[in-house]
C-alpha cells in the first residue's frame, strides 16, 4: 500500500506533478543536448585528427616518437604488417616514410614535409585522394609526386613541372632528387597545405637511402573503442625493446589537452545549468511540502511513523524524478539521433572564421551511452538530494502545530 500511496499521491495534484516532472525533463533535455554536442565535437576532432594523418595507433622503432629522425626508422617487415593486418579490430596498416627536405623550383625554395606512402593503403586512412584538385593521384610505380596547393602556389609550380628535393637521408646520406608534379592536393589545415609533398613509398625510400625501411606503421582501427585493446595486444606481441606502440592519446597530446581544457568549461556550464534547474525543482518541492504539512501532521497523529512517511514521500520524489528523467531522455533521443546523422553545418563568414583554425565549421552530436547515463544520474541524484527537504520537514514536524497552522 505504501507504493500505491506514493503513486497515487503523485497524481493527486496533477498540475504540481506536471510542473515538477517537466522541470526535471527540461533539465535532462538541456543537459543531454549540451553534453552530446560537446562530446560530439570532441569525437569529431579526434576522428578528424586520426583520419587526417596519425591514425588511431602507430608502430615505430623504439625511441622514434621522441626523436623523429630517419636514423630511428625501422625495417619494413611485411610479415609484421600481415600479422597486424589480421588482428581483431584492425582494418588495415599504413606504412610511411616521413621526413623533411628543401623543395625548390626556379629561384624559390621552401622547407617541405616529404611523405612516402602506399597510395592504396593511405587512401583507406586519410582519404587523401579526395583532396586532389588537379592532375592524377599516385599509383604504384609512379615516379612523380603530389604537392600541396599552398606549396605549389609559393613555388609557382603546376602539373608537369619538375620539383627539386634536397635533404638528409638515412645515416647522414645526402638525399636529392628531381620529381615531376603529377597532381596538386588541397588540405584544409594551412600548416599541411603549405608544405606537403607526397610520393610513393619506394620513391621516398630511394630518396632517403633507406631501402626496406619505414618510419611508422599507422593503423586504421574499426572503432575508437578498439584502440586500447589493440594497443595492449600489440605491446604483448611485439618486442618492446625494438618497437613502440602508441595510441591516439599519445599521438595527439596537444589535442587531448585542448579538449580537456574545453571539457572543464563545459562542466562548469553544466554545473550552472544544474543550479538554475535545481532552484526550479526545489520551488516545486517546497510548495508540495508546505501544502501537505497538515496531512503530515494528521498521519503522525494517527500513528504513522515519521520514517515510513519519509519513505512514502521519498518514493514520490524518486518516481517523479524517474518519470522526469525518462521523459527527458525519450524527448531528446530522437532529436539527438537526427542531429547525429545530420550535423549542423555552418555557412558564410562564421564558417570561414572557424575553418581558418583548421576545424570543421559544424556542430556534431554524440550518441555515446555514457552521456545519457551520466546526465540521467546527475539530474536524478540532484532531484533526490533536493527531495531531502520534505524529509527534513517531516523529521522536525510537530503534528499539533502543523495541523493548527495549516
Amino acid at each position: 500500500m505504501i507504493v500505491k500511496l506514493a503513486w497515487r499521491n503523485i497524481w493527486r495534484n496533477r498540475r504540481r506533478s506536471f510542473i515538477t516532472v517537466t522541470s526535471i525533463s527540461f533539465a535532462v533535455i538541456l543537459a543531454l543536448f549540451m553534453r552530446s554536442m560537446q562530446l560530439g565535437s570532441y569525437e569529431r576532432m579526434i576522428d578528424n585528427a586520426a583520419r587526417f594523418y596519425t591514425g588511431y595507433a602507430q608502430i615505430h622503432a623504439n625511441g622514434y616518437w621522441d626523436d623523429q629522425t630517419l636514423d630511428n626508422s625501422m625495417e619494413f617487415d611485411s610479415t609484421l604488417m600481415s600479422e597486424v593486418d589480421g588482428m581483431k579490430g584492425v582494418e588495415i596498416t599504413v606504412p610511411r616514410v616521413e621526413s623533411f627536405a628543401l623543395a625548390s623550383y626556379g629561384s624559390k625554395t621552401k622547407g617541405a614535409a616529404v611523405l612516402g606512402i602506399d597510395p592504396l593503403r593511405e587512401e583507406q586512412l586519410t582519404r587523401v585522394k579526395s583532396k586532389l584538385i588537379s592532375g592524377k593521384f599516385l599509383e604504384d610505380g609512379d615516379k612523380g609526386v603530389l604537392i600541396s596547393e599552398g606549396l605549389a602556389s609559393y613555388l609557382k609550380m603546376g602539373i608537369g613541372d619538375s620539383l627539386v628535393l634536397l635533404g638528409q637521408g638515412f645515416q647522414a646520406m645526402t638525399a636529392a632528387g628531381l620529381y615531376e608534379i603529377q597532381g596538386i592536393l588541397k588540405f584544409p589545415i594551412p600548416a599541411q597545405n603549405d608544405q606537403t609533398v607526397l610520393m610513393n613509398l619506394s620513391g621516398a625510400q630511394f630518396l632517403f637511402s633507406m631501402e626496406d625501411r619505414i618510419t611508422s606503421l599507422a593503423l586504421v582501427i574499426e572503432s575508437s573503442d578498439d584502440v586500447d585493446p589493440v594497443v595492449t595486444d600489440l605491446e604483448q606481441r611485439l618486442d618492446t625493446a625494438a618497437f613502440e606502440v602508441l595510441g591516439w592519446r599519445e599521438l595527439m597530446p596537444e589535442l587531448i589537452e585542448s579538449i580537456e581544457i574545453d571539457n572543464v568549461s563545459g562542466r562548469i556550464m553544466l554545473f550552472f545549468l544544474y543550479l538554475v534547474i535545481g532552484f526550479g525543482m526545489f520551488g516545486t518541492f517546497l510548495m508540495m511540502t508546505q501544502e501537505r504539512k497538515y496531512e503530515f501532521g494528521v498521519l503522525i497523529s494517527i500513528g504513522m511513523k515519521r520514517r515510513l512517511m519519509q519513505w512514502v514521500v521519498f518514493l514520490e520524489m524518486a518516481l517523479m524524478s524517474g518519470i522526469g528523467v525518462l521523459t527527458g531522455v525519450a524527448v531528446a533521443l530522437p532529436f539527438l539521433i537526427y542531429f547525429y546523422r545530420n550535423p549542423v553545418y555552418l555557412s558564410g563568414e562564421s564558417a570561414e572564421a572557424i575553418e581558418k583554425f583548421g576545424v570543421e565549421a559544424a556542430y556534431f552530436f554524440s550518441l555515446d551511452a555514457e552521456i545519457f547515463i551520466n546526465q540521467a544520474w546527475a539530474i536524478l541524484i540532484m532531484a533526490l538530494i533536493l527531495g531531502f527537504y520534505p524529509l527534513l520537514v517531516i523529521f522536525k514536524l510537530k503534528p499539533v502545530k502543523a495541523m493548527r497552522e495549516s
Binding site: 500511496l5 497515487r8 499521491n9 500513528g303 499539533v400
Partner: protein, 230 residues
Amino acid sequence: MNIIEAKGIEKVYDEDKVPVHALNGIDLNITEGEFTAIVGPSGCGKTTLLNILGGLDHPSKGIVHLANTDITSMSDSHLIDFRLQNIGFVFQAYNLIPVLTVRENIEFIMLLQKADKVERHLRSSEMLEQMGIADKASKRPSELSGGQQQRVAVARALASKPKFILADEPTANLDSKSTAQLLDIMAEMNRKEQTTFVFSTHDQRVIDRARRIVRLDDGIVVDDHVAEHA
C-alpha cells in the same frame, strides 16, 4: 479501571514571549467504557486537553497515564507507536487520506499495525457494515458527503480496536441527520464493544447523548458530572 489518568495538567504556550495559560491544573480520570464529553466555550482548553490526552502535545506540568503507561516521559517515536496501538482519533475535518478508497482508509491504521490482509479485509468489511457505508467501499473520500466521511473516519479509528477514541468536535461540520446517525453508531459501538469515547465538543446534540460531562472554563474543570439520562 481507569484508562486515562491526568494529574495536575498545565499547558502554557509561548512561554518565552507572552505566556498564554491554556490549562491550569487539570485532574481527570476516565474509566474503561465511558462515553464522555469535554465541553466548554471556545478557547477554554478542550482541544489542548484532548491533544495532551492523546499524546500529541506535551503538558508544561503534570503527568498523563494512558492504559497504565506514563506517556509524559515517552520519546516521540515511542509516542507515535503508542498512539498507533492504543488510541483512535476522530477529527473535526475528517482527515481521511484523499488518494485511498474508503476501504483502504479504514484498513490504513491496521496496515500500520502490520495486521495481515485477511484480518484487515474482515475487519474493514465489518466496519463498513456497521457504519452503513458498505456500498461506498471503493469510493474516494471526495465522492462522499460530510456525514459519510466522518463515518469512515470513525470506522478507521475503531477498526484497529484501540483502547479509547478521542474525538475533537466530530460533529462540528455535520447536519442534524448526519450528527444523529454518527452518534447512534458511536453509542452502539460503545455499548457493544465497550469502546471508550472522549469527545471535545460544544455541540448540544453530543452533550445530550454523553453519559459524563466534564465542563472546562479558563483551563480548569469547573464541573464534572454524570448525565441524568445515563
